[in-house]
Every structure is written in structure tokens, then in C-alpha cells.
């Protein structure tokens, strides 16, 4: 589109007052309809991709969740066909004992992983922001590096470090006469898996909180330290409340990430006998979809899990909204 010389500031109010006549008589587009049309052009590609690769698959998954496989005669053993099954799969989800255990495991894991990830992220961010601290660049980079390691590889690496015969930690404790550390036994498994997630997640969350800290004006601190507050008090009383919005953001991400725990227990599963195939809900989904050929069951469970995640995230937002009236998402 070329610039229209007529649309100067002086003429704009007049043309806005008489839109119909001028639109009909002038062939060039008016700014108003340009701004009406333009946003769709900008969000268009994203919306198209979203519909194609997120909305449609979800709808398709929902559709599958209402079907099941039945045997029809013919062939050697009969052949499987897909038939409509109503809410059968959803009822099965809520009756599945193993699933309940899976959610229990997830809860235990989350209680360890989420607070520790956020707590350590907050701690490191505050430490980075402390006056007189050294080697911030190195620390920042080192703590962020785990984020760059894919989950499958991280679990493999930590697996080696957990198994008694190859673990440097157990090596040390054994040398000291304390025996091996039960990383991959029932007593230690939640902590061990939690550790992998904490290791991978602290860096990312730390950076979010740290940059939030860095944008707080210095005058606020100067006033407090003039009043005689030490670093720890400044941190606790001033900094933390000011970064609560960032904490909420990282909190929600951590909760969503925790609910979708999958690759760490899956990678560790061959190395220990305390992780079952249905140890967390997402493993159950994978097993149904890929191992026991129950795609409709997997779809139903996915839908339930997604709805549960929405509900939980909404709850977190609502609670934090009540605590912090000014917070916006």
C-alpha cells in the first residue's frame, strides 16, 4: 500500500466524521479499516497453526476417547474395529486403582520438586543480587546449563550416578563405611526423581526471578539500608514481596511441568524395580497408547489430565490473585 498524501493530521478528524461517503469515493484504504484488518494478518499464521496442530488433534483425541476396539469375525482371530463406546473409557479412568496410585506418586514428587525448585531458584537469584558477590556470570551460566540437557539424557546421566556400582556418591559413603545411598529404592526414589527435575529447572526459574530482581530501583534498598537493615532483612522484607509476580509465573510453570512428569521415571525405569509402568499418569497414557494398544483409553486419560491441569492452574491463579490484588497474568 502506498502512503496517501491526503491523510494529514488536519484532514483526519474530518474524514472520520464522514466515513461512508469518503470510503465510497476514495479508492485507497482508510487507516481505520487498515487497523481493523491488520491484526488478523499478524496473528493469522499462529492461529492457523494452532488450529491445525493443537485444536484439531485435541478434538480428534476427544473423539477417539469415546470409541473402543471390538472384535469382529473374519480373519484368523477376528479383526479389530473401532466402535462408539460412550463414556466407557472415562469410567475406566476413574475406576483405575493404579491411576490413583499414580496420582499419589505425582503428589509426593511434586511436594518435593516444586517448592525446592522455586526455593532454590529464589535463593540463587537473591544471592546473585547480593552486593559483593563474585563470579556471578560463571554461577549464572553454570546453573542454567542443565536446562540445555534433554530430559532423556539427564535421566540417563543421573541414573549412572544413582546406581550403587557406578555412583561416585555411594562410592564415597561406602569408603566412609556408611553403605550405599538408596537413591533408586522405595525410600529414595521420590527424592531422586525430584532431584533430576530440580537440577534441570532451577536455572530457568532463577533467571526469571533474577531479572525481575534486577529491575527493582536501587533507591528502595538505599532507603532501607540507611535505616539499618542488613542484606538478609532487605532480601526478605523488600525483594521477595516485589518478585512475587515472577514467583507466581514460575510457580504455575512448575506445577504444569510437575503434572506432566514423564521422561525421568521412564528413563530410570529399566534401572530399578520400584518404578512401575504406571508410576505417574503420563506413563499410563504412554502405556495405553503404545504398549497395550488402547488408544481410546489413552485419549480419555489425556482429556481428564488436561482438564485437571486447567483446573489446578486456575486454582493457583485465583489463590494468588486473592493474595496479591495487583498481580496480572
Amino acid at each position: 500500500m502506498t502512503a496517501t498524501p491526503a491523510t494529514t493530521a488536519a484532514t483526519r478528524p474530518r474524514s472520520e466524521a464522514t466515513p461512508a461517503r469518503t470510503e465510497a469515493s476514495r479508492p485507497r484504504k482508510r487507516p481505520r479499516s487498515r487497523t481493523r484488518f491488520a491484526p488478523y494478518m499478524f496473528v493469522g499464521p499462529a492461529v492457523v497453526l494452532f488450529v491445525l496442530f493443537m485444536l484439531l488433534p485435541i478434538i480428534y483425541a476427544a473423539y477417539i476417547s469415546f470409541t473402543t476396539y471390538k472384535l469382529e469375525s473374519g480373519g484368523i482371530f477376528g479383526t479389530q474395529v473401532q466402535v462408539f463406546a460412550g463414556f466407557k473409557n472415562y469410567i475406566a479412568v476413574f475406576q483405575d486403582q493404579a491411576l490413583l496410585t499414580g496420582f499419589g506418586n505425582l503428589a509426593l514428587y511434586s511436594i518435593i520438586a516444586v517448592p525446592l525448585t522455586l526455593g532454590l531458584a529464589l535463593l540463587f537469584a537473591l544471592l546473585l543480587d547480593t552486593p559483593g558477590v563474585r563470579a556471578t556470570r560463571f554461577a549464572q551460566t553454570a546453573i542454567f546449563i542443565p536446562y540445555a540437557v534433554p530430559g532423556v539424557i539427564a535421566a540417563l546421566l543421573w541414573g549412572f550416578m544413582y546406581l550403587p556400582s557406578t555412583s561416585p556418591f555411594s562410592y564415597i559413603t561406602e569408603a566412609l563405611g556408611w553403605g550405599t545411598i538408596p537413591f533408586l529404592e522405595q525410600s529414595g526414589i521420590y527424592g531422586s526423581i525430584g532431584n533430576i527435575a530440580i537440577w534441570g529447572g532451577v536455572g530457568f526459574n532463577m533467571i526469571i526471578i533474577y531479572t525481575s530482581l534486577r529491575s527493582i530501583p536501587a533507591e528502595i534498598y538505599e532507603a532501607a539500608s540507611l535505616d539499618g537493615a542488613n542484606e538478609a532483612q532487605i532480601a526478605w522484607r523488600i525483594k521477595v514481596p516485589l518478585v512475587v509476580p515472577a514467583l507466581i509465573l514460575t510457580g504455575i510453570f512448575s506445577v504444569i511441568g510437575a503434572l506432566q512428569l514423564y521422561s525421568e521415571p521412564t528413563t530410570l525405569k529399566p534401572m530399578t524395580d520400584v518404578i512401575s509402568q504406571t508410576w505417574v499418569p503420563l506413563m499410563t497414557i504412554y502405556r495405553n497408547a503404545f504398549l497395550t494398544d488402547d488408544l481410546p483409553g489413552a485419549a480419555a486419560l489425556s482429556v481428564v489430565l488436561a482438564l485437571g491441569t486447567v483446573a489446578l492452574s486456575a486454582l493457583v491463579l485465583w489463590l494468588s490473585g486473592r493474595r496479591n490484588k495487583g498481580a496480572q497474568s
Binding site: 500500500m1 502512503a3 487498515r34 491488520a38 491484526p39 488478523y40 494478518m41 499478524f42 496473528v43 499464521p45 499462529a46 492461529v47 497453526l49 494452532f50 491445525l52 496442530f53 493443537m54 484439531l56 485435541i58 480428534y60 483425541a61 540463587f124 544471592l127 559483593g132 558477590v133 563470579a135 560463571f138 554461577a139 553454570a142 546453573i143 546449563i145 540445555a148 540437557v149 534433554p150 530430559g151 532423556v152 546421566l157 543421573w158 550416578m161 562410592y171 532451577v202 536455572g203 533467571i207 531479572t211 525481575s212 534486577r214 529491575s215 530501583p217 536501587a218 509476580p245 515472577a246 507466581i248 509465573l249 504444569i256 521422561s263 497414557i285 485419549a299 488436561a306 486447567v310 495487583g326
Partner: protein, 289 residues
């Protein structure tokens, strides 16, 4: 929302402080680096040393391992690395551009359906990858596209988090007045975006690109389901096949560990390189009142 200026606290940093913050940070850094150190030490071990020697002692098999790695399957590791670079690089660039466009549109315009579109897309992060992967595969098969490069690229280009970040950054970094002035001068909307909005959003785009690149590089499930030709596998899937060979064949631990070690290097290099361009304050800006 206005951009909050970051104040330098130079005078505070030159003040002498206690050493324990630094010590704690160093412990944290060490904790984060231990597995990385481990994998590079393990990479130097031959298969028999891998299970018999102390974890951090270097072994004697580094060159052999590297040789095994790059000759495995007639050079597959190189192909996997190239594929990862393709998917993450091209995918990252395209995804960043589309996210930026979408974020700009959502932030700078009032239009019908704006909230619906934004919150729907944001809802996308709530769906686990597993749920989407199989339906995506079935749908793409209908279109005869499963197994091709596009089948891995297209689903990964839509990034709800990237759009969210872009929107926040567009709000903060591109003043409405500048846009209005440009409109008065007669510039087209697209022209305004290209010549004014985009340059202003560049630092935020770097962040989005980096997060997207890492996310696509590390993605395992989607390429695992979509691809059946081992020559199109990215590194994550390729390394996984080294370890899960079914009964009757041992997992190729040494090759897998060497492959894992080598594959981490480009990501770390990328991060170090892009560090100076980081603008994660756009995230904090997004959550302030």
C-alpha cells in the same frame, strides 16, 4: 505497561560483602555441573572401564569411543546432528518470527476475538505432548505428510509460550505513539511492523529464539512418533535407539554417552553466545502490575 529502567548498582557491588553468598552460589554451580563433568569423564572410558572404574577418573577409550560414535551405522550420528540443527534452527527461526508477529498483533491492536485467541493459544501449554503426538501423526498421515521433515517442523512451530513472551515484549518495547506517528506518515501496517516494531523487539526475539531452539532440540516424543527413517532422526531419538535395542542386543552405553556428551556442546556454546542478548526482563515486565 512501560519498560522499567534497570538501574546500575555499581556502588553497591564495589562494597565489600561477606563471602558466604559466593560460596553458596559456587556450591549450586558445582551441583549443576557435576553430571556434565561426569558425562565428559565417562566419554573417555572404554566399554569395560565404564562399569569398573570410579566415575570421575578419565579412561583410555576417548578416541575409540569417538570413532565408534561417528562410524556407527555409517555416519548416522552426523546425520542426527545435522537433523537436530535443521529442526531446531529452521524451526526456531520460523517459530520466533510467527510468535513475534502474533505477539505484536495481540499487543498493539484492539480487535474482536483478541482475548479468545490469546487465552486459547495459551491453553496449549496445558496439553501434554503425548496427547497431541498421536493425533498429530494420524492427521498428518491423512495428508500424506507423516515421516517428512515438515511433519516434525510444523507442529513444533506453534509455541504458546513464545507468543506470550512476544506479546509482553511488544507491549513493553514498542511505544504506541511511535506507531501512531508512523501511521500518520502513511506507512502500511506491515511496513510499520517490519521497519519499526521488529527492530525494537529484536532483543526479546533473541530470547524467544533461544528458548524455542533448546525446546525443539530437546524434543523427543514428536520426532520419535513421526519419523521412521533413521536418517531423519534428531539426536534425541537417535541416542535413544542406541539404548533400547530390545532383547538379544546390548545397549550401546559407551556410544550413547559419547553421543550425549558431544550433543550437549553446541547447546552450551549457543547459550554462552546468546547470553549477552538475553532480555528475560521482558518476562518480569509481563508479570508486574
Amino acid at each position: 505497561m512501560t519498560a522499567v529502567a534497570v538501574r546500575e548498582r555499581a556502588n553497591l557491588h564495589t562494597r565489600k560483602g561477606k563471602t558466604w553468598p559466593t560460596v553458596i552460589l559456587m556450591i549450586g554451580a558445582l551441583y549443576c555441573l557435576v553430571p556434565v563433568i561426569w558425562v565428559f569423564a565417562a566419554m573417555t572410558k572404554s566399554p569395560s572401564e565404564l562399569f569398573t572404574t570410579f566415575s570421575f577418573l578419565p579412561g583410555s577409550g576417548a578416541l575409540d569411543n569417538l570413532g565408534d560414535l561417528f562410524s556407527y551405522g555409517g555416519g548416522q550420528y552426523g546425520m542426527w546432528a545435522a537433523n537436530s540443527l535443521l529442526y531446531a534452527g529452521v524451526g526456531g527461526v520460523v517459530s520466533t518470527f510467527i510468535s513475534t508477529m502474533a505477539g505484536y498483533g495481540l499487543a498493539k491492536y484492539e480487535f474482536k476475538g483478541r482475548s479468545l485467541i490469546f487465552y486459547s493459544i495459551l491453553g496449549g501449554v496445558l496439553i501434554p505432548g503425548i496427547t497431541l503426538a498421536i493425533p498429530q501423526y494420524l492427521l498428518l498421515s491423512q495428508a500424506n505428510m507423516a515421516g517428512g521433515v515438515l511433519s516434525v517442523l510444523l507442529p513444533l512451530i506453534i509455541s504458546p509460550f513464545g507468543i506470550y513472551l512476544s506479546r509482553v515484549y511488544a507491549s513493553a518495547a514498542v511505544p504506541q505513539d511511535t506507531i501512531e506517528a508512523a501511521r500518520l506518515d502513511g506507512a502500511s501496517e506491515w511496513g510499520i511492523f517490519l521497519r519499526i516494531g521488529l527492530p525494537m523487539m529484536l532483543p526479546g526475539m533473541v530470547t524467544v529464539f533461544m528458548l524455542q531452539f533448546i525446546g525443539i532440540w530437546n524434543n523427543f516424543l514428536l520426532p520419535f512418533i513421526m519419523l521412521s527413517d533413521q536418517n531423519s532422526y534428531p539426536l534425541t531419538v537417535g541416542l535413544y535407539t542406541l539404548l533400547s535395542k530390545g532383547s538379544g542386543t546390548p545397549a550401546l552405553y559407551s556410544v550413547a554417552i559419547t553421543g550425549a556428551a558431544i550433543s550437549i556442546i553446541p547447546l552450551i556454546a549457543l547459550m554462552l553466545f546468546l547470553q549477552r542478548f538475553w532480555r528475560l526482563d521482558l518476562l518480569s515486565g509481563g508479570v508486574k502490575g
